[in-house]
Amino acid sequence: QQQVKQSPQSLIVQKGGISIINCAYENTAFDYFPWYQQFPGKGPALLIAIRPDVSEKKEGRFTISFNKSAKQFSLHIMDSQPGDSATYFCAASVDGYGNKLVFGAGTILRVKS
């Protein structure tokens, strides 16, 4: 059973649009929530991360929104570009240090030009 449930499985967005990927969890002990971006044939790359004491974090076109009471967090990609086409994974850590990550199943994003 997936401890972090990610949706949608796949997403098609027009260039310039907003891509939104959602994740939900049950374990309230999770204390660190990173997002990873993976291109075909490559390892995942850390994109952005948030701690549960922060409701939003923005880095360039990428924003994490965190709703602690709903146990949900989401990744927003503003002004989506074809180069953003990749698989995105949300993750959560329960050990207080970011070591034992549990990942969502992933979202395949395609940005149409």
């Binding site: 995942p44 993750a91 240090y97």
Partner: protein, 116 residues
């Protein structure tokens, strides 16, 4: 890939044979991890190491063992490979020196293992 190499990059083996995958880092990071990636499951932690000779189990450790005799090398061994262990294996490294206060993990290029 953050100073991480994995070898081999591709391997095909027979059921029942032992297999060892190697992860090598040049970053002198304390923590190293082994994950497997399968469709529909994302990445799942197999084992991780928090120092030389110090390891801990992850979510899917059955059938796998690890060893770390040097800071730079972390080995993953499948004692007797099964078809269910066909997967892409990723090594990751981290240190506790990131500004977030958490061990931000950086991944290697992966090893594609096929067990026939």
């Amino acid at each position: 890939d953050a100073g991480i190499t994995q070898s081999p990059r591709h391997k095909v083996t027979e059921t029942g044979t032992p297999v060892t995958l190697r992860c090598h880092q040049t970053e002198n990071h304390r923590y190293m991890y082994w994950y497997r990636q399968d469709p529909g499951h994302g990445l799942r932690l197999i084992h991780y190491s928090y120092g030389v000779k110090d390891t801990d189990k992850g979510e899917v450790s059955d059938g796998y063992s690890v060893s770390r005799s040097k800071t730079e090398d972390f080995l993953l061994t499948l004692e007797s490979a099964t078809s269910s262990q066909t997967s892409v294996y990723f090594c990751a490294i981290s240190s506790s020196t990131s500004g977030s206060g958490y061990n931000e993990q950086f991944f290697g290029p992966g090893t594609r293992l096929t067990v026939l």
